[in-house]
Symmetry: C2
Subunit: 412 residues, 2 copies
């Protein structure tokens, strides 16, 4: 199979996966849902067609393995995630898994000094439980009881959802891998931004993944009748939250960080009731962890000032924290060699503003990433997310060549 037809097949499979959605006419596939089950079955079938030995691990990740020059060698793992945000595109995550299957299909692994594994992680996005990288954290042995007790919006905990999915949450440790069983982790992913597009390049090599912190924010005031509560007596949680949302944007721009309020909702939510509570989210990321943490301190101070002035209460809880991840230099070099093999002599280096499973995997093995150009202004987490077949073919070419480059490093 050529790069072009492999790319076309991977893209067609992205379309097939997009049908596994909990929303009519839109894509949403969250962890431990019927759609998660369907995606694992479909991807597991494609892995099996490519002769991989397929299993679902204790965290709900779908894993396929091809042995190397002899059985039982440590594995080079290729993968990405199969879950999505709400009203998602069809490439973020999925395309990386499907290209990994194409690589496994193209390479004769019997000549490799390592085994090749392909993994489709679950719950990279954190859409259901607010807590990202579940599958890859479990892969790294970093999922504890607190995480298993986290509820979704309906009060179903991760552990309960796993049980409903047919998994045993007390066996989550079985998903953990040992460093000695791993050679490294390579992931291909759409850029989810416009930097490759603006530079006129189809591919880029990721040198680092920005750290991110995610918070649940809350303003608590006092509900009251919209007509009967004079302004002087109001303790309106939504207006205070609105001031904080604007402060997040201002402070993020001033500090060169990226702050996003993706979720906001006022309670009790009556059209004629002054909101007593407003809950909203904050996602904060930066190239440097210190820069990100300093921005949060300023946001927190600004929110305290707003809430004190308005007689309401400010509180927050950190849901997720990942520090910046540096990619493994040897694996970065292998990706660069792959990009050159695909015809670009000066591989572009880029830092990822988005989080990725590699941030978790780095705890047990070195990681590197290949980015592929997005169309449409680099839009992602949106139905208009797009890639071209030509860029996808370049990515497949480079991804396969990178695996062979890792093999050359191991033989050297």
């Amino acid at each position: 199979m050529t790069g072009a037809t492999g790319a076309a097949r991977a893209l067609a499979r992205c379309d097939a996966l997009a049908e596994l959605s909990s929303l009519p006419g839109a894509v949403e596939r969250v962890s431990f849902s019927p759609e998660h089950r369907g995606a694992n079955a479909l991807v597991g079938g494609w892995m099996a067609e490519a002769a991989l030995l397929v299993r679902q691990d204790a965290a709900g990740n779908v894993c396929g393995r091809l042995e190397g020059e002899r059985p039982g060698l440590p594995a080079l793992v290729l993968g990405s995630h199969l879950d999505t945000v709400t009203d998602a595109g069809r490439y973020d995550g999925m395309l990386g898994v499907l290209l990994a299957i194409e690589v496994a299909d193209r390479i004769d692994t019997r000549s490799l000094p390592f085994a090749l594994e392909v993994i489709g992680f679950t719950d990279e996005e954190g859409t259901r439980f607010g807590n990202a990288l579940f599958g890859s954290r479990a892969f790294a042995g970093r999922v504890g009881d607190d995480w298993l007790a986290t509820p979704d919006r309906k009060g179903v905990t991760v552990a309960q959802a796993m049980t409903g999915f047919g998994l045993d949450p007390t066996s989550i440790g079985d998903a953990a891998r040992r460093p000695e069983d791993l050679v490294g982790y390579l992931e291909t992913h759409i850029e989810q931004g416009p930097h490759l597009l603006d530079a006129g390049r189809s591919l880029g090599v990721v040198t680092a993944i920005a750290g991110a912190r995610r918070f649940a924010l809350q303003v608590t005031g006092r509900a009251g009748h919209a007509g009967g509560t004079p302004y002087a007596r109001r303790r309106d949680a939504a207006v205070a939250a609105a001031e904080i949302v604007i402060a997040v944007e201002r402070i993020s721009i001033e500090t060169g960080t990226i702050g996003t309020v993706g979720r906001i909702r006022a309670f009790p939510g009556g059209v004629n009731v002054v909101p007593g509570v407003c809950r909203f989210s904050l996602d904060l990321r930066a190239e440097q962890d210190e820069q990100r943490d300093a921005a949060f301190a300023r946001i927190d101070a600004a929110a305290r000032e707003v809430c004190e002035r308005r007689g309401v209460t400010w509180s927050w809880e950190e849901l997720y924290r990942a520090d910046a991840t540096t990619c493994d230099p040897a694996l970065v070099a292998a990706i660069e060699s792959g990009i050159r093999a695909a015809g670009d002599d000066e591989p572009m280096r880029i830092w990822s503003r988005a989080g990725h499973d590699g941030m978790a995997v780095t705890d047990v093995t070195g990681i590197a990433m290949l980015f592929l150009r997005c169309g449409n202004d680099g839009i992602s987490h949106h139905p208009d997310e797009t890639v071209t077949e030509a860029d996808t073919a370049d990515a497949l070419e480079a991804f396969a060549a990178a695996v062979l480059a890792v093999a050359d490093q191991h033989r050297a």
Copy 2:
């Protein structure tokens, strides 16, 4: 039965009604729900105990009637509503219906020159369908097909909900009353504000009910990945909405109107997704309709400026509009006479910032209202909504005396 024991019974019945809730540990009772059915059954039973002839009308209002000095006379109607907002108090609406039953229980209607009717309206608040005063608009013959086609958040229309409740939506016209069958409408209600509390009075007479307009507002931008979308390319619907929420407060205060954003929600609502859509509500009211409409024009202009600057789209839909209602002078005089009978020689006049069923009923008969003091800073639409038994006894005394005063007017 004395005023004191009647008041105690009415308050105990408010507690009993509060148990009919769709929320555990909180009060929410919306139209055409199982709780609506339960409330009508309970209130209908209490009406029957007071010898009223009870029926449920074509709109789901519960109605009880006592004939006057001869059968078939036009009726003086006493009432309020039995539905609630979300996480409501237990007096807003219900107490007025229960005090009306106490009045019917105390007065020998066989000596009245009119019949006495008690009515418990449904869906004054508009909690489920966003459109207030359903029961009283139907009473006034003002519910059309558009209204019946309005969906709730789950897509169930008013007509479908009525059918599920056992009503025939095509017969909604049967709930309409003819002016010649009515003498007037009197309603007792908690003030839902701090004005009586601040004035040190238990009761007040309402001279006018402020007009209100309610809008569904929407900002449409473009969803994108929180990490991958640089600020210069963002079209963040939530930040634009936040600016508009703050503008609503500023313009309302500047124009002496009352503007409230009770509902706000960002979509798709992922913690790591730049919001592509933000939906929020606006409730706007003022003593004068012109003042309110001028304030909305300023809010609309401010929102256009915000959205143009941010490259997002602004749209709104008016869900509800009620112009200011003037109370009937003779009925106001009857309420004042009732307040004097309860021991307050200088009845306080007040305009209602909140909307009430009387705004709809005024289309078919004259209306007046008796307000009763709220505790807790006048808080309402909140579980902390409270009244005292002494004030309730005063209200019952005044309400019964007002009915007798209307009878005197008719005999004169």
